[in-house]
């Protein structure tokens, strides 16, 4: 029982960076822009978050910096894909390469350093609930914020005017434009905000989870998040489910490693990724139709008003 609770609690923690990245990408994709640069943006977020925490001694400034850096990268992506009508896949891949390289270069001096990070605290009353209390409510503030974000995003999409405008722009930008919505402005806004959330996910790894910096420390979590968006069929609640599933397998294999099984470590480390592939496989077989129905219809397509057919 004790082991189970601690594995589950660890699952939530290690799933949190993926949850932030997935929510950020959902926000971006809902308005019709596809950003495949998640891995690079997370790395830049991880580095800038760590660097600012280290140099100022204030981890909160570190998180804020990461959010800002993410938004800047999102702005570049928005400029290329919205204003220039460029290929979003290529631009995203370039962002991944750039983020990986730039963070590795700039982070050389940070290797081997550690920071104090942000400590967790239990939420009174809630944390006393059996099982759920120790798994979900004895964490740190960024985990709690991610719960709120899930709920807020869900309500935003379904019940608010800007949320509806966002969906309309992602589904049928032509119609949205004809109804007088500023398509480009809306796409800019959510591409930038989404990238900020993605970078925050990266910063969670370096500032709170590991408290050190290492080259490529996101280890493909950005790509996992891209997969989780599809797994979640663009629903924030299912995004949480997917992120914690990945986190759970991750926490489980770390336990096995620590317990010293005879299974080779590289094989264990592969587990979460293998699981992602399997989940996507089952989704495509079982829910394939639902995925294609829930995907924003204009995802990845640039919009120009005066383009004639």
């Amino acid at each position: 029982m004790e082991t189970l609770v601690s594995i589950l609690a660890a699952a939530v923690r290690s799933g949190t960076p993926i949850l932030y990245a997935t929510l950020g990408e959902i926000l971006t994709e809902k308005c019709g822009v596809m950003n495949l640069g998640l891995e690079g943006i997370m790395l830049m977020g991880a580095f800038s978050g760590f660097f600012v925490s280290l140099s100022t001694g204030n981890p909160w400034l570190g998180l804020a910096a990461a959010f800002g850096v993410g938004m800047c990268l999102g702005l570049i992506h928005a400029f290329i894909s919205v204003s220039l009508g460029g290929n979003q896949v290529v631009c995203g891949l370039a962002m991944t390469m750039f983020g990986g390289g730039a963070s590795a270069l700039m982070g050389r001096g940070c290797i081997g350093m550690t920071i104090r990070g942000i400590d967790g605290f239990s939420i009174p009353w809630f944390s006393e609930l059996p099982l759920v209390g120790r798994v979900f409510f004895s964490q740190d503030v960024m985990v709690y914020a991610s719960y709120a974000l899930v709920v807020v995003l869900y309500c935003f999409f379904t019940a608010t005017r800007p949320g509806m405008n966002l969906r309309a722009v992602g589904e049928n930008p032509k119609a949205a434009d004809a109804m007088g919505l500023p398509v480009a402005r809306i796409r800019y806004l959510y591409t930038v905000l989404g990238a900020g959330l993605v970078a925050l996910g990266g910063a969670y790894i370096s500032v709170i989870y590991n408290r050190f910096w290492a080259e490529s420390m996101t280890a493909g979590r950005g790509w996992i998040a891209v997969a989780m968006v599809i797994f979640a069929v663009w629903n924030p609640f299912q995004a949480a489910l997917g992120a914690y599933l990945f986190g759970g397998v991750e926490a489980f294999q770390l336990r096995l490693q620590a317990a010293g099984t005879s299974v080779p470590t590289p094989l264990l480390m592969m587990l979460p990724y293998v699981m992602t592939i399997l989940v996507l496989l089952f989704i495509s077989i079982g829910k394939g139709r639902r995925v294609s129905l829930s995907a924003p219809a204009a995802l990845g397509a640039p919009f120009h008003r005066e383009e004639r057919e």
Binding site: R161, N165, R167, A168, M179, G180, E306
Partner: protein
């Protein structure tokens, strides 16, 4: 209105010019709409009607000219500005977001909507407007669940909800049944009684003559004439549109249908979403005969065509030709048997638009002699072939090396017809052959189909244009939700209202009840 003194129009456009990368779509065009009138905008495809209206709706910025609303000059930077000035447009393919509900679409982009959406309040207001104009709709339904006629009602409501004084309707009846069109005209009359101005874009001369007060005709992007509807005739307007006289009637030679060459029995197929689209169709195609299929878009037409040429898997039923069983055979076996397909999606399915004419000319025969010689393609031969098609089918194209993408709609369709019809087909499956074509090209395409009929082909003609179906078909089937409501053996004698009823889901026996004596021939009711 005051005697003698002219009232200020709701909207006036003066000297509008609009160019698209060198092509002039509108040149010095004048147009105006007054309160309480229906003003028809007539013209052939490419005459610049849609461009002019898109300028009025703020979608295109004009390169020259001015727009006045109630006498005051305005500049529209986007549809938002046009809506604010009381101008609303209902596009041909409705600018609606399918995944949103009716009421959500209604308030899309509307200023002054609260942050958290007050669904109930909005629904009540929609109900009020619905009643006032006779536009019944369930505000909570998602748009993708609605029929085309209902979607149009939503699109009109959307504009009335925004207090539009001027409504632009772009070919509103093209997608409607006879009954639905009648209902639309009642709504339009209510709108003009309330003081709205309506711009009515249409090709259909009888609608223009019956339902409008004034007519403006465009040709080649310029004003070609204007008249009060009551003081002009359909012939005069047609001549203004085309700049010359074009006979409108077709001659369909009386012929005896030959033996059945293509038989479909209890055909079933799914659509792309995996739902039933074709639900048990049985029919046969005979030599020297055109079987027309009427129906509103989205009732299984495309799926039926694809199932008949091997492009869509059958989930049930059989297809036979002569002695051969072609059930779930590959498209190439259908081609080898002499089945030719002219799809509704000409650019997507019919052509490879980026490739040149001579490559497209051999898409269906590159694998066999004489075009193929071993593993190689004889390009000289394909070029010769394409020149032949260009000449025989009056395609206007600079050279066989021109990419198909650069052909106009009419020329592309002529070329496609040429490719499919130039090697004496046995069976022709053709969908929406004249959709989007101008009057002259339409006439040409129809003549070619009749020529094939006389040459002995068995033709299945799927169309949404009832006039076209009645002019060409020897027999007429009516498709509704993937089933035939019946097959009329002598469609000319049947009133269009009855066919309209069948298109809306009434069985043939029910629809023809009152006129049974004169339609004893309609006994061939299917399923």
């Amino acid at each position: 209105m005051d005697e003698g003194k002219k009232s200020t129009p709701l909207v006036e456009m003066r000297g509008i010019t609009k160019r698209f990368s060198g092509v002039t779509a509108n040149s010095d065009v004048n147009f105006s709409v007054e309160a309480g009138e229906v003003h028809a905008l007539l013209g052939e495809h490419g005459a610049g009607k849609s461009t002019l209206m898109n300028v009025l709706y703020g979608l295109y910025a004009p390169d020259g000219g001015r727009i006045f609303v109630a006498g005051r000059p305005v500049t529209f930077r986007s549809p938002r500005d046009a809506i604010a000035a009381g101008i609303g447009m209902v596009h041909q393919n409705f600018m609606l977001v399918q995944t949103l509900t009716v009421w959500e679409n209604m308030i899309l982009g509307l200023k002054g909507t609260p942050f958290v959406l007050p669904g109930k309040k909005i629904q009540n207001r929609i109900a009020g407007i619905s009643e006032q104009y006779g536009l019944e709709i369930d505000p909570r339904a998602a748009v993708w669940q609605l029929s085309t006629g209902e979607r149009q009602r939503v699109a009109i409501l959307q504009m009335l909800y925004r207090n539009a004084r001027v409504l632009i309707l772009d070919e509103p009846t093209a997608v409607l049944t006879h009954q639905e069109a009648g209902r639309l005209f009642r709504t339009i009359r209510r709108m003009t009684e309330e003081g709205h101005g309506v711009v009515f874009i249409s090709h259909k001369m009888n609608e223009v003559m019956n339902e409008t007060r004034r007519v403006t005709v465009l040709r080649g992007g310029k004003n070609a004439g204007a008249a009060m509807t009551a003081e002009t005739t359909g012939e005069a307007l047609a001549e203004m549109m085309m700049g010359r006289k074009v006979p409108l009637d077709l001659y369909r030679k009386p012929m005896r249908a030959g033996p059945a060459v293509f038989e479909a029995d209890d055909l079933r197929a799914l659509n792309d979403r995996g739902l039933d689209a074709v639900g048990g169709l049985s029919f046969h195609l005979r030599q020297n005969e055109i079987l027309g299929v009427a129906g509103i878009a989205g009732n299984g037409q495309r799926e039926l065509c694809e199932a008949l040429v091997g492009l869509r898997a059958l989930t049930g039923g059989t297809v036979r030709m002569g002695g051969a069983n072609l059930t779930n055979a590959s498209p190439r076996r259908f081609v080898d048997r002499g089945v030719r397909y002219i799809p509704g999606d000409r650019r997507g399915v019919g052509m490879a638009p980026g490739m040149d004419i001579s490559s497209n000319a051999i898409l269906r025969r590159y694998w066999s002699k004489p075009v193929a010689s071993g593993a190689f393609i004889d390009w000289k031969r394909s070029e010769k072939l394409s020149r032949q098609i260009i000449r025989d089918f009056n395609v206007s194209a600079p050279s066989p090396r021109t990419p198909v993408r650069n052909l106009s709609g009419g020329n592309l369709q002529k070329f496609l017809m040429g490719r499919e019809l130039s090697d004496s087909p046995k069976v022709v499956i053709v969908m929406h052959p004249t959709w989007g074509l101008d009057v002259a090209a339409t006439r040409y395409v129809r003549e070619q189909l009749l020529a094939q009929r006389e040459a002995g082909a068995a033709i299945l003609l799927i169309s949404e244009d009832l006039d076209e179906l009645l002019a060409l078909s020897d027999r007429l089937a009516v498709l509704y939700r993937g089933r035939f409501m019946g097959i009329l053996a002598e469609p000319e004698g049947v009133p269009p209202e009855k066919i309209g009823l069948m298109m809306a889901g009434t069985w043939i026996s029910e629809a023809l009840k009152d006129s049974a004596p004169e339609n004893g021939s309609a006994k061939e009711a299917a399923s």
